[in-house]
Symmetry: C2
Amino acid sequence: MKEILALNAFDRATATALDADVQRLVDQRHRVMGAASVLFYDTPIEMVSARGAFLYDANGLAYLDCYNNVPSVGHAHPHVTAAIAQQIAQLNIHSRYLHRGMHAYAERLLATFPAALSNLTLTCTGSESNDLALRLASAYTGHTGVIVTAAAYHGNTAAVAAVSPASVRTVAHSGTNASPVRVVRAPDSYRVSAADIGARLAQDVEEAARDLEQQGFGVSAFLVDSMFSSDGVYADPAGFLTDAVAVVRRHGGLMIADEVQPGFGRTGGHLWGFQRHNLVPDIVTMGKPMGNGYPMGGVVTRPEILSALCERVGYFNTFGGTPVAAAAGMAVLDVLEAEGLMANAEQVGAYLRECLRELITRFPAIGDVRGAGLYNAVELVDDPTTRSPAASLASAVINGLRQRRVLIGAAGPHGHILKLRPPLCFSREHVDTLVRAITETLVSLGH
Amino acid sequence: MKEILALNAFDRATATALDADVQRLVDQRHRVMGAASVLFYDTPIEMVSARGAFLYDANGLAYLDCYNNVPSVGHAHPHVTAAIAQQIAQLNIHSRYLHRGMHAYAERLLATFPAALSNLTLTCTGSESNDLALRLASAYTGHTGVIVTAAAYHGNTAAVAAVSPASVRTVAHSGTNASPVRVVRAPDSYRVSAADIGARLAQDVEEAARDLEQQGFGVSAFLVDSMFSSDGVYADPAGFLTDAVAVVRRHGGLMIADEVQPGFGRTGGHLWGFQRHNLVPDIVTMGKPMGNGYPMGGVVTRPEILSALCERVGYFNTFGGTPVAAAAGMAVLDVLEAEGLMANAEQVGAYLRECLRELITRFPAIGDVRGAGLYNAVELVDDPTTRSPAASLASAVINGLRQRRVLIGAAGPHGHILKLRPPLCFSREHVDTLVRAITETLVSLGH
């Protein structure tokens, strides 16, 4: 398995001649960031500004953003940036004092969840949220076993990296005694029939749960991103998670819905990805789009689950739940509502899939088009009959699109799945631009 | 040991009648935050705004801030808030594209460190920084054992909480087979002679290291906050860490300097706390004051240490190293320099200790006054001969000061040490106000 986070990465060793200015920046960056200096694309881009669905480089060229899910209500949205600027100039302090803005945000956000999920803990990142969720599940259940999908990515802390097979490769290959982590196959709707997906997942989870119990770990949590972002974006059939979650609960474990990527309206029909599967999770985690780029995350759960940890060891997060985070989060909810972005995601996403599906007959390399709302994937294959992953074609398409100033990314264990995940202000015109660019790129690559 | 983070906490169970408005806010907060809703003071304060060294409550009353070390260059500093507002309206994106602002910040920050520490990784919080540091140390050394001080607090992720005896109580009591964490005694300069402190610490570390090796963990890191913030604030004699660090290195471990609290000029004489002890750490972690409240943290280390992790599993942090974080961090360095805040911390801190020491003869309950720069502590004792901790007096003093609209906090395993840690724009006039309030409070409490 390739390391998912290094998908679409610039490689200094094989890079062709760069523009002198870019080369100097790449070298400077490598000097100060060292081995952590991973850049996108064969030719990295120096970005200078952004607005709506566009990023602008140092030469003033516009790039259509079909990749970035953090600036979810649009890059540099004036309502959000004004709310942050106003509050940061007034009060920016930790949450050990009372602050009405934080209460108002918590109440508004919690109102979007099933009633049982009535407590919100604010963090700074999706990683911190998943890290806290794992601690909560373990404190509440008394177990340590965690079940995740085969190419899942849940974040960057030590505990979360250990349950992110996309990042820490050893996880995928352990699955035995030493580690309390078990992986199950992703709900691959391209290779498994809709009728079988839910049952296969439930059976995999049952086996993993039994193994965890036999090894003495017990089942603490089934940690799942309902859009399977790193596994390759799997949305249908809605409801396929139901049986697996029931299995986990029978074994005394909790269901943690990682909404860092599917959350905040991206999937169109619902604000939260788990709602698509008609579930009530035990714990929900949030991050990325929550503050449209202001660093914030959150964990929503039942009071007794939060108490299980907090009454024993406490939890405090210095930058979590500040008045500024509350103002940013509130402004994001304002915009989602005022601009009808969830409905837009539903409509424009459907149009995008329709356009992409028209390309299937023309390009045999397009094996599958799938997704929900504005979270979509195009799976590239070397052969539509064997459905073998076309990893190098995916890389060529991504870089070909970059040359046409359209930004997308890759997903899946082989990096052969194009990930289309634009800001939610994406329009039908933007879809047309994207689809035209994909067509041109595939043609230019001889397809 | 009391849980350090719950020191000075409001207790709903024992609370006396609150103002109706405050009561309503407290109830609302408990409803939405549940068990994580910990507030400061017997009578919580609703904060509305802040500027410089003052916070203002809902009634417009000003509180002198002698506690908050995050808004280190002053609450709502206009240079910092303007830099954030400007950049957030222009571009706020992850670090997979090139951005000159990030490079410029990294170069400027790295120039303040010993040359060997040439790589910077930006995170969002001090917790994420320490979490990454532990992963780096383990990847580089191949060991898992970590040595910390007895009441240390290093953050809130699962991995970091496990090395924070102040938060996860079990750590302090394990010290045996199951856990790879060993605690050593804090360098208690009030109870151990200056001549013995360094030797005692080195000996404790030697014993811990040998035990970790015998148990098969090996020594990965000695993780240490050079001001021992949670242990009770110990600054002198400068250099007392030297021998302990040498011991750790002899055992193949790394020294991680947790600069989340001592860093960015707080200790007066140096920008970094470790410089006070004339050390070059292997890894340095940063957080709290780095963006004056904008959520950011960082890890500085040698390239080969960063490579040990990143070439195997990678590290990416979505909100780490954005153009906005770089702008915030840069603005903080601007203000530190332009306003001479490090020198101010040195001078005003010295004056503060001088004034506080004058109180020792008058109030036997003041056992010790110590610190460096604007990181200071007053240790309260029931009896200056036995030096027994006066925990309930400390709580009374903290709440008495709050009634006088002066904000301080507590530290130490018994919560009996007053922690004075104001924004670095603190002046001699502010010192006079603080010292007068402490005097009045002690007198009013019958001392």
